[in-house]
Subunit: 292 residues, 2 copies
């Protein structure tokens, strides 16, 4: 969302528009109140309130979070990997400045240390002020917030983290582009313990099949085991969202741990979803298995 894309509808309401692929398709949300709008060192940050879907947070005009729908994305990004690890104590989040991923990670009581490495301090400051339902876990004593480049930071570690979660902007938007190289994924692999898992969101197969294929292939190049899974995510283009998990041997499609008190509180994820989400529609399987 940038102000030049604002549009008056019948002269009454400002409207946010996100373009999916070029400018030929997209989504709009009527703005109830613009809460925050700032060009940081890295990107344009906008947060506004809507009429039906809660607060909306965008970077460079790309929706990052819609309050009403974010649980679907954050639960699926976090809990599949967390429940595939027997005892995740040390977790690294790269990106994730709104705090939603950190919030879900810290719901696991076994976690002793959760590092969120978000390059843009302005995103975190804005989330603390305007997205309390997401940023609510930032003051947890197990959390460390670092404002630096995740790719450089992860290089400092070897055999340390149990789970690494990539919750960055797309390669086509904001500051996330350098987080999608084979070299970066290899650094992540090195920073993980032998039982460790990496998980990244890998876009939709409808408007961004090429980039989905690229991201999956690069993770596959850096890890022994690589599996894609899917989840509904109405906050993103097409609603058809994919995630890719990589490991040195652990099978991310197998839930190895129970936590009844946590699981009873979740709104999207459960043990059956964990298994089912790895079943891919035929054309999506074809995309990731194609050689080209």
């Amino acid at each position: 969302m940038s102000t030049d894309k604002f549009d008056f509808e019948k002269g009454k309401h400002l409207r946010y528009e996100e373009y999916f692929q070029g400018e030929n398709n997209g989504l709009f949300i009527k703005i109830k109140e613009l809460l925050f709008s700032k060009q940081s060192k890295y990107q344009r940050i906008d947060i506004f309130d809507s009429y039906d879907v809660g607060r909306v947070f965008a970077l460079d005009g790309i929706t990052q979070t819609i309050e009403k729908f974010e649980f679907m994305y954050h639960e699926m990004l976090v809990h599949v990997a967390m429940f595939s690890h027997p005892n995740p104590e040390k977790v690294l989040i790269i990106g994730g400045g709104d705090g939603g991923t950190l919030r879900e990670v810290l719901r696991h009581r076994c976690v002793k240390e959760a590092v969120m490495c978000e390059i843009d301090v302005e995103v975190v400051l804005a989330a603390k002020e305007y997205l309390p339902s997401l940023s609510c876990a930032m003051n947890d004593e197990r959390a460390s917030l670092l404002f630096k480049d995740g790719a450089a930071y992860v290089s400092e570690f070897e055999d340390y983290f149990d789970v690494i979660i990539i919750d960055s902007t797309d390669p086509t938007a904001g500051e996330g582009g350098h987080l999608f190289t084979v070299d970066f994924y290899k650094r992540c692999s090195r920073a993980l313990t032998d039982e460790g898992l990496l998980v990244a969101h890998t876009e939709n197969p409808v408007y961004d099949a090429n980039w989905l294929k690229m991201a999956y292939s690069r993770i596959e190049e850096a890890f022994e085991v690589t599996k894609m899974y899917t989840g509904f995510s109405p906050q993103y283009p097409s609603g058809f969202w994919t995630y890719t998990a990589g490991s040195k041997g652990n099978n991310p499609s197998v839930k190895v741990r129970d936590d009844e008190s946590l699981e009873s509180q979740l709104k999207y994820y459960n043990g059956q979803i964990h298994r089912a989400c790895f079943i891919l529609p035929v054309f999506l399987n074809d995309i990731i298995e194609s050689k080209s």
Copy 2:
């Protein structure tokens, strides 16, 4: 899409807009060429070509079909029920005027008779002219096209059809409203054989949870066995689409038949998807199990 909702973007291109819930959220697609636009006896019919997603067909401003994405909806609407029946020979489609559902039904060689009961002949005529990739099976010798009210038509039958597929407009749009009553579903049950199944699309749980709940409950009232399943459908609001299957005893979540030559041609559905699609995210399960 109605012409008064057309909007000029920077004075260059006409744009189609669909509203999801009130007028606060929606989707837009730039129109490359308006191919057909007519107010029939029942509804406004529009078909246009887009830049990225093929041809788009709308009734009363509600998207029915987007050429690039329709396989996801039509495969999931048709093949789950068809593969849950041991030998579906007689199939009734209520609605489905674009022909996509009929096309998928007739891919099953066991089908001897497929009746498509579409109230609006103008939709079929437009689809034959402007949506050949969907209407391509209308001339199949096993197909009968009837232009009458599906609710009245189905009442003429008892213990006859193997599968009934409801592919109508939403109760909030077009002529489909009367197709969502308990009485209608009971007539469908009566028209089905003992092994028969009904399947209907039942909207999304994001913008239309109340209507989803209502449709599911009414089907549940008319059938012994009722099960909801989901599928990605980027052509519809939120992309998070649900379907509900009802039967007198058959379990729609169990695939009971193989057809290798057909299955090898499908782009979304396969046997694993058949099982996985019945696993519902927690909040969706909560919606359909809630008493209110």
